[in-house]
């Protein structure tokens, strides 16, 4: 028998909580608030057992946050730069938690139940599945081009040679899209009368969590001290 574990919360509830928390992070201007929000996120990450994955992922975000910090420092001051860097880490972390705990197709299917056209939901969830595939392709292209002497090592000189990365990547992405469309068609994509093997419904606990999340976020966002 397949595992049919019921989710604690409906994917739509998770989305609403995520968006509320993200809005709170965007509205927070005090360093202490941002730090507190980040610590809460870290506790959640540890609680759901994603600590190791988060640390690996954080290494990628760190470079982006450092650039953001540097630009803000040059344009404004050190205080603004620290807040901006932390805000970026917190914002990306909240979506990290969301995507590690909610399968894109679960979210897509739940949104279809709410009235979103199936095709739109499917494009959303499928494009997320293929991010790692395209990133693997990009790495392979980099290796192939560097192997024949085209300098694509990180740095300014690589900019001149970027077509060597972008052109094959785009062409392969289009080919992948064509093949994917044929494969989906061959398994009945777009056929009327589709059913879903999982039930998605908002239970009392979902409504309670939604009201609590939106309420608390709205209250804090409108509070001047934040």
């Amino acid at each position: 028998m397949l595992e049919r574990s019921e989710r604690l919360l409906d994917p739509r509830t998770c989305l609403i909580v995520t968006v509320s928390y993200a809005a709170l992070i965007v509205a927070s201007h005090q360093l202490t608030w941002l730090l507190a929000e980040l610590v809460i996120l870290w506790l959640v990450i540890v609680a759901v057992g994603e600590g190791g994955q988060y640390l690996r992922w954080l290494r990628l975000v760190a470079a982006m946050a450092a650039s953001w910090f540097a630009i803000s420092w040059l344009a404004f001051d050190i205080g603004t730069a620290v807040t901006a860097g932390l805000r970026l880490v917190a914002l990306t972390s909240v979506f990290f938690v969301f995507f590690r705990t909610t399968a894109p197709e679960d979210l897509g299917n739940a949104l279809v139940k709410t009235g979103l056209p199936y095709e739109v939901a499917f494009v959303f969830s499928t494009s997320l599945q293929f991010v790692p595939v395209l990133s693997r392709k990009a790495r392979n292209i980099l290796d192939a081009q560097r192997s024949r002497g085209i300098p694509l090592e990180p740095g300014l000189s690589a900019l001149r040679h970027y077509p060597a990365l972008i052109t094959p990547l785009l062409i392969q992405a289009f080919q992948l899209g064509d093949e994917l469309a044929a494969a989906m068609e061959s398994r009945g994509f777009g056929r009327p009368g589709r059913t879903f093997r999982r039930h998605y419904r908002m239970r009392a606990i979902d409504w309670a969590v939604v009201v609590l999340a939106v309420g608390v976020a709205s209250l804090l966002i409108t509070w001047p001290a934040i």
């Binding site: 028998m1 192997s147 002497g149 398994r187 009945g188 093997r197």
Partner: protein
Amino acid sequence: MGPERQVPEPVIRVSGLRYRYAGAGSEWILENLDLEVRPGEYVLICGSSGSGKSTLCRTLNGLIPHFFGGRMEGRVSVAGLDTREHPVGELFAHVGLVFQNAESQLFNSTVESELAFGLESLGLSPDQIEERVVRAAEIVDITQLLHRQPHQLSGGEQRLVTIAAVLALRPEVLVLDEPYASLDPANVARVRDALSETHRRGTAVVLTEHRLENAVTDAERMVVLYRGRVALEGTPRDVLAEDVTGLGLNPPAVVSTAKALNLPYLPLTVEGLVSAAEGRQLPADLLPDRPARDATTDEALISVQDVDFSFGDRPILREVSLTLGAGECLALVGANGSGKTTLVKHFNGLHRPDRGHVSVLGSDTRRRSVSELARHVGLVLQNVNNQFFKLQVREEIEVGARALGRYDKAWLKDLTAWFRLGPFLERTPYQLSEGEKKRVAFAAVLAPRPEVLVLDEPTTGQDWPFRRALERLLGDLLARGLSVVLVTHDLDFAEQRADRWVLLAGGRVLATGAPGDVMRQTDAMERANLRPTQSFQIRHALGKSRSASADA
């Protein structure tokens, strides 16, 4: 089947089929093709590249004409439904199509969702979906993978998932387009078992393939396509009794041997050959064993000493040591994931060892940039489409040499003539056939005049005419003094071409030596999940292996 039994109606009936893809100047790919497949039959469709195999598959579930457009004449019917009149969304419940590229067919977040997708399309209830998902997973033996992410699976596992996703629909016919391409022997065996089980349960199987050794023993009927037409048809034994080499196919070694020995009965397996040969001996010039090359005096161009390498905390290479001599053809053989490609990426600095040393022409790769090393080691990775970005073949060949400051007009002219690229110089690389693309990629990597050429899985997905041409080409390169490293799990090709094998498994070197000597090391071959080539097995079984005689 006895003549008194009624022959069932074909589940697939193709009559007078002609097809060409949309686009100005496109040629007819299929020409007056007739084909029937009976319920529960196992049919092998073979032919060289461009013979129309993939196009035929697309007509069987209605993707042609509904998805690809183009011009179609004649009639295709599946389970009594005319594919022109019924959309793919209706036909997919009767005929399941598994495409060549597994990666682009897996578009769900878990294997379980992948198997359920088509069933949801059919509008089945959750209980029916669950029951069918479980059954399909059991048939192809992937129950343990149901909660994994498809894109994190190995190539063989991905292939099994694509088959299960289609089997869950319980179609009358399962059509597979080159399902063994890019799989190593162990994974080919897994897929073959799954297909045999499917066939045993009564589903008709239609499979395209151009490498015959595995497929001919499984199929009941064999159809050879040549330039879009059925050129030969019958039981595999009857078809292989004819000369298929003119149709771009290489008969299995057992068949060639049986014909050379004038056996009255055509065996399809080594065991069958041994029993039919009844003590006859192999002629000396048939299936010669490749003698070991004396490499003791060779200057070492590449030297790898005690190399360890890991991705994160996952070890990939462990205590690897080897040398490549000047003018030598070395094959790194091993199953998928054995560390072959990771090892050759150390030769040009794409990877640096965690421990140990790699030196190229006496210089440690840790102290040289990739660009510097690319002047000496030309590496062509498996998918040559990864390197094309110029509008013309001419620019594509020149760009690397210019970037490395090694542009030599006379040498490029030689390369163009040698690889017969003259007619394509002004064309865009993406318009070429796969074989032509490979030639462009080889020329581009050779343009800076490296001393070593490394080819990663050069024969994957390639037909026999290409493999023969590649063998000749490598012979020419070696004759000109170049050293070649082949990275492959295609042992037939490695046996034909390489002087020496390095057998890898789990990131370790298990054996080194002449191809025959490595294949004789049964334990190492088993640990590497590889089987000796059919030629080796025949030599061994008929007692004519030179090295075996020497050992004795």
